[in-house]
Symmetry: C2
Subunit: 363 residues, 2 copies
């Protein structure tokens, strides 16, 4: 298979649809992020949400008005709402935003809103890639960058869309992660690791040991092997694929530990004078530590499995993270990420079907 047959799209023809009502400080942050992005990029942005509120904020911040359009949505799904409300109510911002993308009037969807609602709205409106059985939720997390990449982040998926996945599903996740890192970071052959209980090939029970064996045999996957919990922060690989629940536990454990570090920093500040002086002197170091740990502000993470790019941003997203997410989404469209995923999976399933029929094949 040739990954190089890309359906590249010009940036000026790309439309990113942003659910402006999602997130803790909506629609202000969404509008600010869109304004910032409009000034230095060619792609267009559709803001979906309360027209009056959005227009008010648009007037406040400098932007390129040829690149931003508003589509009105009367309602919104709040963080505490039941995700299913998005299916019952046709007027929610995330529902309308997903529909615009599903109707091919937009190329990518971004939301910092209720995760369940984002997934449901996407599932309802945007076609799933043929052959993909399960959606995967990804997260980007900071590492010690032992591969010396341009940035310190690795991608991990699935982190909670499913509890347990089959071997085929975990392999699909590898194709998804592979395509993402290629498209976004421009790394020709991203390294892929399998989150497991030990480094040996036979570890982790039937699903994981079978996944190991197949991943090793796929030529256009640069398979590193198993990675363990204590390897995650090292950044041994660009993409970590997981059986499901293990990814969720790992990433939330990292979040919890990162929170602990910040607590220690705060406590130190309340302490005595020497401590305070020490802290000031260490300020650069602490800043560095926070850059590493404060990954909530990093763009957003893709929801994989759909024909169109879908980026879920953190509820606590800032102007900068929305701006980053918009650029991320446009780049993934430009680089035809979904097309690469679709072709890789079709190719794999075809080969694996031949193999099941007893024909000689290679992946």
């Amino acid at each position: 298979m040739n990954d190089n047959i890309l359906n590249k799209k010009d940036y000026k023809d790309i439309v990113v649809v942003l659910d402006a009502m999602g997130g803790d400080h909506s629609p202000k942050i969404a509008v600010q992020g869109a304004c910032k992005a409009s000034l230095k990029n060619e792609f267009k942005i559709i803001l979906v949400g309360d027209e009056t509120k959005i227009a008010t904020y648009l007037k406040k911040y400098k932007h390129d008005e040829n690149k931003i359009q508003i589509v009105h949505a009367a309602d919104e799904i709040k963080m505490g709402d039941h995700p299913k409300d998005v299916l019952r109510n046709p007027n929610t911002s995330i529902g309308i935003a997903a529909k615009i993308v599903g109707d091919n009037k937009g190329d990518a969807l971004i939301s910092a809103g209720n995760t369940g609602a984002v997934i449901l709205a996407t599932t309802k409106n945007i076609d799933r890639i043929i052959g993909v059985r399960r959606t995967a939720l990804a997260t980007i997390y900071p590492t010690h960058n032992s591969q010396k990449r341009d940035d310190i982040f690795s991608l991990i998926l699935d982190v909670g869309a499913n509890v347990h996945n089959s071997t085929h599903e975990v392999i699909h996740f590898a194709f998804m992660g592979n395509a993402y890192v290629k498209a976004i970071k421009g790394i020709e052959s991203p390294t892929i690791g399998l989150l497991n209980i030990g480094s040996e090939e036979y570890k982790g029970g039937e699903v994981l040991s079978r996944t190991y064996k197949i991943l090793k045999s796929i030529p256009n996957i640069n398979f590193f092997g198993n990675v363990e919990g204590n390897d995650l922060m090292k950044g041994l690989v660009d993409v970590v694929v997981t059986e499901g629940i293990t990814g969720n536990i790992a990433i939330k454990t990292i979040e919890g530990m990162a929170g602990s570090m910040k607590e220690v920093g705060k406590l130190a500040f309340k302490h005595n004078m020497l401590w305070k002086m020490g802290m000031v002197m260490l300020a650069t170091g602490i800043k560095k530590l926070q850059d590493i740990t404060d990954f909530e502000t990093y763009g957003g993470a893709p929801v994989f499995g759909f024909e169109k790019t879908v980026i879920k941003c953190h509820g606590r997203s800032t102007e900068k993270s929305i701006d980053n997410a918009l650029v991320l989404a446009a780049k993934s469209v430009h680089e035809d990420m979904s097309g690469i995923i679709s072709r890789s999976i079709a190719h794999f399933e075809h080969r694996s079907g031949l193999e099941e029929m007893g024909r000689e094949t290679n992946y």
Copy 2:
């Protein structure tokens, strides 16, 4: 069931068997730890390993000679050896130590050696508790102690003896952890949490949601509910039970993050003068941080499921951790930990058998 019918054993009648050859600095550290423990405790210690080497070290350190005995073992299993060697060779220190305990000439087994070999030697020589289907490996890890206990440590099991466990097995783990915390910390009703993907009762697939339901209904289990990865460090509960692989991933992720913190500390020291001054001023804080993270030195963690207490210490154990592990082991014998586990599980399996037969019951 009445947990209070304890078969308490006098400390002076308790014999703890220590594999003196296990661990990175054996037998020196083992002998030092045993010497220290002999001076301030009533229980006896059997050191198993190279008689000449052990005797040489014994002469060096102050100890109570009435409390320490040597049993010779010609061979040892090294960290890199295949665990199965312990089954092939009758002369290994861990094999002989486990046999002494299995033959009722000792009450508890401790080793800082090869984990696989410790489990195999135990399985071969020491009876499994009736009704227990799976051995569980536990780890003690540091928390922010949100329950304000006397120490900051929580227990998590299983952390890697098995990949996936059934509902019954996870419930057995709850009884094991419950008995341990009661015996060792003297907490009357330890809190138990279930490591899961979300806090809601229905989360985590069939095994976990069924486990939740049953744990909630057992009166002598103080069930907190689900805990997520980011809750682990908070110390919301005394005992975390896991489906298997999730526990391994979580605890290794914590280890990896703790390692990261130390790296940042070391880097800081190599930096400029201001940094160094800052570090000195923050020394108390850093010490505190290391106390929290450097949990390798904390005693050891139990291997559950056997009629006798088995404690696995870290390979990098120090004199202090061996001393702590000896006291821990003796205390668990004194408090009849294995008896409590055995009776809880027998009671649970009996009730659950009645229930399956359609009779009305309660746990």
